[in-house]
């Protein structure tokens, strides 16, 4: 057999070992293996490797504390129970050992201002795609606030700022690195304002700035971190931030 032909056959031999071939193709491979020592050996080695991997590799089982933490996260679970579970499990374990300290490294700095700017602006832009802005559409904070209960391990403050010219239009959940954020969505004329909220991990100075044409204001208050992002002009966004606080 020509080696070119065998090169083509490799993926078929592999697919045969993986049980991916229809009968006709499998028969073709079997025919080839009859006459080609190289490919027959390849098949043996693929089978042996597969056997080794399946027997020797550790079977990961989700630890009990993870299973419990996940149960507590599920929509039916009470928000209060989640609060005790979510981060402490990961962080307490992370205190032990050097490898574990890397996980801390990974999570905490992302809550810092520098890394987060990009993420919240990206999340804002993503949210502007059709169908992405709102999980719950309501101008009533008495609808929005309870909506978060059971979906988050914390309860974000929800203010109706309609009288200030920033009507609430709804809310959604968003994932940012290292944290789950409540997002309150407000409107100023035709501009959408995303207000990201999650528990603060430390005191953070107020910052404002712009990125990719979007303005943002960031502050911490009452144990929560806030990021307001919008294409609204900086002055009115600051005004918005002032109203929220």
């Amino acid at each position: 057999m020509s080696s070119n032909h065998c090169q083509e056959m490799r993926l078929l031999v592999q697919a045969d070992v993986d049980g991916e071939l229809q009968a006709a193709e499998a028969a073709r491979v079997a025919d080839h293996l009859e006459s080609c020592v190289e490919c027959a050996r390849l098949q043996q080695r693929l089978l042996a490797l597969s056997d080794t991997l399946r027997r020797k590799l550790p079977k990961h089982r989700a630890p009990d504390h993870l299973r419990q933490a996940v149960r507590a996260q599920l929509p039916g679970a009470r928000a209060g129970r989640q609060a005790a579970r979510r981060w402490p499990a990961g962080l307490a374990a992370a205190m032990v050992g050097m490898a574990a300290s890397l996980a801390l490294f990974a999570v905490l700095p992302m809550r810092g201002v520098d890394g987060m700017q990009d993420w919240v602006v990206a999340a804002h832009v993503r949210a502007l795609q059709p169908q992405h802005l709102l999980d719950v559409a309501s101008t009533d904070r008495h609808t929005v606030k309870p909506w978060f209960a059971g979906r988050l391990s914390f309860s974000p403050p929800v203010r109706d700022l309609a009288t200030d010219g920033f009507p609430l239009i709804g809310a959604r959940l968003d994932s940012l690195p290292g944290s789950e954020a409540a997002v309150l969505v407000y409107r100023r004329r035709e501009h959408v304002i995303n207000l990201f909220v999650w528990p603060a991990s430390a005191e953070e100075a107020t910052t404002e700035g712009s990125r990719d044409g979007y303005n943002f204001v960031h502050w911490a208050a009452d144990g929560m971190t806030f990021w307001a992002v919008s294409d609204l002009n900086a002055r009115e966004l600051l005004e918005f931030a002032g109203r929220v606080r």
Partner: protein, 170 residues
């Protein structure tokens, strides 16, 4: 019938955690990945149509793992500067050959797998450990089936070479 979110998650939690472990190679971070993925899953569940729940969850776990690895890499750079090289993801180890020559049996094959580039490793793990089909793997990893096949081939060739059994390659 479309199953409940809870059923899907709890039924496939071991698989989700296993994939997270293989991708991020740090048990603590893997736990965070799973928890994060579950939260994301709550958001996305509305779009779940009752297809294979395991593949659906694995896809979210996989994407979450990539996000968190990227965050960790970025965090490592910000915090550690040059020293951040030790945090380098997907993996700071030697190539599969060197990794294999050091240890025996199970530890050896595990290290060789861990030393593969992440996009090859995930294909092999999904195939050999989770026993998913090419089609499911393509869906989870977001690449065409042909790419899955060639990644699997490259992953296996690297491990076979590492095992010292290959002699007709290159």
């Amino acid at each position: 019938m479309r199953p409940e979110f809870e059923e899907v998650v709890l039924a496939h939690l071991d698989a989700a955690y296993g994939l997270a472990c293989w991708l991020v190679r740090d048990p603590n971070l893997a736990e965070d990945v799973v928890q994060e993925a579950v939260l994301r899953g709550i958001n996305y569940f509305a779009s779940f149509r009752g297809e294979d729940g395991r593949a659906w969850l694995m896809r979210i776990v996989r994407n979450t793992a990539y996000t968190m690895l990227a965050a960790r890499q970025q965090a490592g750079r910000i915090e550690a500067g040059d020293a951040g090289a030790v945090l380098e993801v997907p993996d700071p180890d030697d190539g599969p050959e060197l990794a294999l020559s050091r240890q025996d049996d199970a530890a050896r094959i595990e290290r060789a797998l861990a030393a593969l580039p992440i996009e090859l490793r995930e294909c092999l793990v999904l195939k050999e450990i989770e026993e998913l089909s090419y089609k499911e793997i393509a869906h989870i990893t977001g690449v065409p089936i042909g790419t899955v096949m060639s990644r699997l081939w490259r992953a296996r060739r690297a491990l076979m070479t590492a095992e010292g059994a290959a002699d007709d390659e290159q």
